[in-house]
Symmetry: C2
Subunit: 330 residues, 2 copies
DNA sequence: AACAAAAGCGTGATCGCTCACGCAGGGCTT
DNA sequence: AAGCCCTGCGTGAGCGATCACGCTTTTGTT
C-alpha cells in the first residue's frame, strides 16, 4: 500500500510551497498563471487528490450532510419521499446520502453512517432505541413513521388514527357501507399489528373490522395487491369499499378489479395510502390517503434542522396526519 | 457564534484525558464502566458532536463516498437507476450521496460536491468538459449517457445505434411496417437531435423516418406521452409500431391508445425505452429497450471503482448496448 | 525619482481527532 | 516474594489541508 499523495509532495515536486499549491488548486488570486499551470500539471501527473477531510477540517466547514435511510429505494413511496426530501435538503444547503438496510444489519449501517454524516434520518426498524443511539455515537437521529418511547432521539410519526377517523365517514357519506382492508403486514408473533390496521379497525364498524386480507409475498408490490384483491373479493363479496395498505397495493387491486370486470369506483370504491404521483396516472386515478405532498417532508426537514443546529436541543416528537386526495377511484 | 464543543472540553469537564473520551465514545476496551458512563453523561450534557472530518483525517479513513447526479429523482428511470447503483455501491462499501441539478447551476453543484465526495458520477448536461473538470478540483468524474470528446474524464455511453439496428428488424419480422417515434427532445438551435432519434432514423426506412412527433411539456411524463400519441395517430394514422423515447412516455401512449380504442399490440405495437420495472405491471406489459437491468450499472460501478482507486488511471470510455425486453406490448 | 500599492510566494500555527506508546497499580502464578 | 500480565489511564506526535501573516519583487503614481 503506497502512501497517499499529499499537498506536500506536489509542493516539493513543483518547487513551490504548500500555500501556493492550495492557491493553484482552489483557484485563488495571488499566483501567476505560469506557476498555477505548473502546479496543476504536477498534481495531475502525480495523481493528486486533495483530502476532503483535511480541507474541511482546516476550513472548519459549515457543510452539513444528512443520511436518509429506508427499506428500499425500489419502492416508489420511498423514492418519491427521497426526491421531496432532497429538495428540502438542498434548499437548506445540505448534502444528502442515501442508504437502505436491505443488505446490511441496521446497527452496523448506522455505525458506518455515523462516521460520515451529521444526522441520520429515516425509517429504522431496530426496536432497541438505546442500541440505535449508541450506534450513532453522538450523531442525532430523526426516526420516521414510528412511535418513540425514549427521550434520546427525534421522531415524526404518522397519525393514521385521525386520518382514518376522517376518511371513513367521508366515504360513508358517499355511500360506502361494507369496508375491507388490504393489509400488507401479517399478524404474528414477530409483528405487531400495523398502525394502519389498528386505525382502520377503530374507524370502521365491527363487521368491516373482520374484512382484512393480508397481501402475501412479494410484500409491498403491485402483484401482491392483485392477489390480495382477488382473495378479498372471494371471501368478502359484498365489500363495496377497499382500503389498501399502500398505493402500490391499490394499483394491483385496480388491475385485479379490471380483470374481474369490477368497476372502480362504480361497484367498489378503492382508496390507497401514500399519495404517489404514480396514482394520478392510473385509470381510474387513485384516491389516496396521502403522506407525500403533505407537510410531512417539511416537518422532517424542520426537525432535522433543529437536530443539526447542535448542542442541547430538546428531543422533538411530532406527528402528521395523512391527507385524503380525492381522485377518481373513490 | 459559539465555539464548537471539542473532545478537549469533554475531557476537561469529565476530569479525564482526550484518549479516555475517545475510548468512551467509540466503545473501545481499556476503560472502566464508571468512567465511560461519566464521560458519556458529560458529552451529552455539553451537546458534544464528534467532528467527522477530524476523526476521518486522524484514522486516514478508507471510506469512500460517491455522488450520483441526475436531472430529477422524480423520474422513475433515475430513481430505479439510483437504487441499482446504490446496491452496487454498498456492495463495495461506498457511501452514496445524491444530487440533482434542478435547483442549482451545475458547475456550482459540482464544485460543492467536489469538497464532499471522492468521485462524481452522473448525467451531466454542462457541455464544456474542461469547465466540468476544473470545477471538480481533482475529484474524478464519470459521465453517463453522453459522448466525451476530451481525455479528462471517464464516461459510459449508451449505444442506441446498435440497439435500434437490432430492434427494428426484429419488429419487422413480427410484422411491423410503418414505424413512428415519440420523441421527447425538440429539435432546435439549442438542442442537438437526441441520440435515440438519430439511431431511430438510421434504422428505419425513409417513410418512417419522417414519422416523428415530439412530446411537449411537461417533458418526460406520462401526460406528454398521451398527448404525443394522440397527435401521432392523427398525423400518421397508418403507423403500426410506435417507439417511445422512454417507458414513461410509452405508458402515456398506452393510456391514449386505450382511450382511442386502439388495441396494443393488436393494432399498434408499442416499445418503450429504459426497462422500468413499472413497465411490467401495465396492461399490456411494456416491451422496452432496457437500460435498467443490463450491465449498465455494473459498468458504472466498475469504472467508478477504477477512478476511485486513485493515481494515474487512464480515462475509460465504455459503451453499453440497451437490450430489448420482450413483454406484451410488441 | 521616490514611495505606495499590489502581485507573487513562503512560514508557522491550527483544525479536532486517533494512534502508538508509556506508566502505575492490582491480582496471578510459581 | 519476585515476576508477570492485565486493567485503566495519560502524553506526544501526527493526519493533510487552510489561514493569517510576512517577506520580496514588481508595478504604478505623482
Amino acid at each position: 500500500m503506497q502512501r497517499r499523495v499529499t499537498i506536500e509532495d506536489i509542493a516539493r515536486e513543483a518547487g513551490v510551497s504548500r500555500q501556493t499549491v492550495t492557491r493553484a488548486m482552489n483557484d485563488m488570486p495571488r499566483i501567476s498563471e505560469a506557476t498555477r499551470a505548473r502546479v496543476l500539471e504536477v498534481s495531475e501527473r502525480l495523481g493528486y487528490r486533495p483530502s476532503r477531510f483535511a480541507s474541511n477540517l482546516a476550513r472548519t466547514s459549515k457543510a452539513k450532510t444528512i443520511a436518509f435511510v429506508v427499506d428500499s429505494f425500489r419502492n416508489p413511496y420511498y423514492s418519491e419521499l427521497t426526491a421531496d426530501l432532497l429538495d428540502a435538503a438542498s434548499a437548506r444547503g445540505w448534502q444528502m446520502t442515501i442508504a437502505s438496510h436491505e443488505n446490511e444489519p441496521e446497527l452496523e449501517l448506522i455505525g458506518r453512517l455515523a462516521g460520515e454524516v451529521d444526522a441520520i434520518v429515516g425509517y429504522l426498524s431496530e426496536p432497541d432505541e438505546t442500541a440505535l443511539v449508541a450506534a450513532a455515537r453522538g450523531v442525532p437521529i430523526v426516526l420516521l413513521g414510528s412511535t418513540v418511547t425514549t427521550e434520546s432521539l427525534h421522531s415524526i410519526d404518522l397519525d393514521f388514527i385521525s386520518a382514518f377517523r376522517k376518511l371513513i365517514p367521508e366515504l360513508e357519506s358517499r355511500g360506502s357501507r361494507r369496508f375491507a382492508l388490504l393489509e400488507s403486514q401479517p399478524l404474528g408473533t414477530e409483528y405487531d399489528p400495523s398502525t394502519r390496521r389498528i386505525a382502520y379497525e377503530r374507524a370502521v364498524d365491527t363487521r368491516s373490522a373482520e374484512a382484512v386480507v393480508v397481501c402475501e409475498a412479494p410484500p409491498q408490490s403491485v402483484d401482491a395487491g392483485e392477489l390480495g384483491f382477488n382473495e378479498l373479493m372471494d371471501r368478502f363479496p359484498d365489500t363495496d369499499t377497499v382500503i389498501a395498505f399502500s398505493d402500490l397495493i391499490a394499483m394491483g387491486a385496480l388491475r385485479a378489479a379490471h380483470h374481474r370486470g369490477i368497476d372502480v369506483p362504480g361497484q367498489v370504491r378503492l382508496v390507497g395510502v401514500d399519495g404517489l404521483s404514480l396514482g394520478a396516472v392510473t385509470s381510474p386515478a387513485l384516491t389516496s390517503l396521502a403522506i407525500l405532498g403533505t407537510e410531512f417532508t417539511e416537518q422532517i426537514a424542520d426537525v432535522t434542522e433543529r437536530a443539526l443546529s447542535g448542542a442541547e436541543v430538546p428531543f422533538e416528537h411530532r406527528s402528521v396526519v395523512p391527507l385524503v386526495i380525492w381522485r377518481e377511484s373513490a
